[in-house]
Symmetry: C2
Subunit: 397 residues, 2 copies
């Protein structure tokens, strides 16, 4: 009796919950996709009895060359699913390396998410499914049964930009019950990103929790601001509410962000229990955030002891105008002369910014500016940036 009533209640609730739940219940029942097997091969499944062709596109498949206006470039690979019993299409990968992977389906030419997998990430305006294959370095991207830090979405006042702005802040496990002061890593996103990017795409909270639990990184606060100065928050989270996110956002690389970065430092240092000295400040960023890191650390020359340039969008100097970008050589030299503990540059050997980074490395060598350089496989991808964070954070403080 008890079970019958419970079942009825649950069934009715399922129907009523949003009315969509029911659709999901009948449509996708018993479909597990992706299924990660014990040997780290992965099976994708899709119930599409009327489809004539289904492909999976993902970064775990051998990459293919894509025609672009800039020439041939690497793109994610594609594989065909095969139609089986009951209209369920399937594809099984070979054994995969440990990693966090993205994919989408193409059903009769139409690109779709996997209805069997509710775990999605948004990158600019594009939403794709993700999954994690553990048993290797991607264990760092998993939530494990260890002490966890807190992730807060707060709003800070930026007098320089004349608005309240949303910011994401990771405080390490124990922060709330400790009286200790902590060092701070400022972690900057790339073009098209926002204050959600490093958390969602970068798995920052998981990486930091894991590194700290393993004793590989010191407990630190990680501050993830929004580098798009015309936004007060991420698309869907700021006062513009829902709109289609764009990759090209005005004023992202005109010096405004760098020139007002002190608003963020002041907010953090007056609102968190931090060590407010150069030795306890690090700044790093990917792509455009690497460009911002380069300029912020130089523009505030005696502020940061640790710099991380991940696949940095190093722009030709002559294109950078305005106060922040002026006197480049002199201020870079001043940064060198003031001293620091780490100037860490990482890039993939197939990154489209590889050449620009090599030129910058030559420049640093030429002026005798100490730096560390890590060259990885691959291109301009989150796959690399997650690894760079997990390599950089242990070097700090």
């Amino acid at each position: 009796m008890k079970n019958h009533l419970l079942t009825t209640l649950f069934f009715l609730a399922t129907i009523g919950f949003t009315s969509y739940a029911q659709e999901a219940l009948f449509r996708a029942q018993n479909i597990i996709s992706p299924e990660i097997h014990e040997d780290n091969s992965v099976t994708f499944r899709l119930h599409a009895p009327n489809a004539t062709a289904v492909q999976v596109t993902g970064d775990f498949l051998p990459s293919v060359k894509m025609e672009t206006p800039m020439g041939l470039m690497d793109g994610p690979g594609k594989a065909e699913l095969k139609k089986g019993e009951n209209g369920v299409w399937e594809f099984k990968t070979p054994v995969l390396d440990s990693g966090l992977y993205n994919y989408s389906f193409t059903i009769d030419g139409f690109s779709s998410i996997d209805p069997g997998n509710p775990f999605l990430i948004r990158d600019v305006a594009s939403v794709t499914n993700i999954f994690i294959v553990g048993g290797g370095h991607a264990d760092l991207f998993m939530t494990n049964d260890i002490p966890h830090g807190t992730v807060a979405r707060r709003w800070y006042d930026s007098p320089g930009l004349g608005m309240d702005r949303r910011i994401t802040i990771y405080t390490p496990p124990g922060y709330e019950i400790s009286t200790e002061k902590y060092p701070v890593l400022y972690l900057l996103h790339g073009a098209g990103g926002d204050e959600e990017a490093w958390l969602a795409l970068g798995r920052t909270a998981q990486i930091m929790d894991n590194l700290i639990a393993q004793g590989k990184a010191k407990p630190m606060i990680v501050v993830m601001p929004n580098g798009n100065v015309i936004q007060d928050g991420a698309p869907g989270e700021g006062s513009k509410n829902f709109y289609k996110p764009q990759f090209m956002i005005p004023k992202t690389m005109d010096g405004t962000y760098e020139g007002t970065f002190e608003d963020i430092i002041k907010f953090v240092e007056s609102n968190y229990r931090v060590k407010a000295d150069k030795a306890s400040r690090a700044i790093a960023g990917l792509s455009m955030g690497g460009f911002h890191t380069l300029h912020i650390s130089r523009y505030y020359p005696n502020t940061f002891d640790y710099m991380g340039l991940f696949s940095a969008a190093i722009m030709p100097r002559e294109d950078a105008t305005g106060k922040v970008y002026s006197n480049f050589d002199e201020t870079l030299k001043a940064q060198m002369d003031n001293g620091y503990k780490l100037y860490w540059i990482a890039i993939g050997n197939r990154d489209f910014l590889y050449k620009a980074n090599q030129e910058y490395l030559e420049k640093l060598k030429g002026m005798g500016m100490p730096h560390d350089y890590v060259e990885s496989e691959g291109g301009h991808t989150w796959k690399n940036w997650r690894v760079y964070l997990s390599q950089f954070a242990p070097l700090l403080f």
Copy 2:
């Protein structure tokens, strides 16, 4: 020259960013969907040149009767999109009331999200698009240019459940810089939900920010725990990492959660600047969370001055066993005798739990237990629960 280089950089970055960005760029370029017009009609668009039929299913369309094993029930309406130039399908709604709406597309029989709209919500294992039509009560669900509270995802120790568990906590604007003590609303999700549900589906942070800014609700802390005692966090956020969420989760209504709820109260009252007295504690929940509210407020009889039962899943008493559910009548009477300020019950006139709630109201009347009752249109939906929260919060403290 500057613009050319910038454009090149951005283009290259777009290609490289995830490789998906490029697909999105070419596929969905210039497609705006949904487009909310000035008169609050809405146009949906989908680029699908090879499709033969495209429908939109949404809760803004006249509902249709669906056959279910429990009889005919209301389901979301469907409308046909028409194929236009360049393979773009379109449908324009009539003028819509202010509200937050869900929808999905069906393309040749296959259910899909709208690739033009990256704003999605997950309800159990089902992902749908959302949009907001403002100009009315849904302005409460928008992020407006007003002071904002902080939303933190923290982990608390539950000795009663023997694990660290994830919890979502809203602190009102100014909390961090104030020395004031705040009252607390404990806000509980329904079956299939978790510590993300009230934020994502319920728009709690936006509702509270707006009500507080308008002076309609007192600044308060809102605590959103996870009511599934076998989980340490939401699907994708806890230590089980990514798996297919299920609606029926064991041990959600067996008394374990209610019996260990003191762990949550203790955590909040020792980690936040709160008024730790009965007059400053409220508890409310939807569906299963209404059931939990009923039992928690009775089991800890002198703890809460404000109770909110939103479409509560009021179970027949004889089905509830175990310590928490025993002595129902006596403990309910004790709760009445101890006194409280508000016992607020709300339900839609087409909710499948309507009858159970009417019976409970009769019971309360019979025993002379003071309560307030609000009957709304509609069924067992987030549309109602968002409104109930916006009606209940102003009555508190």
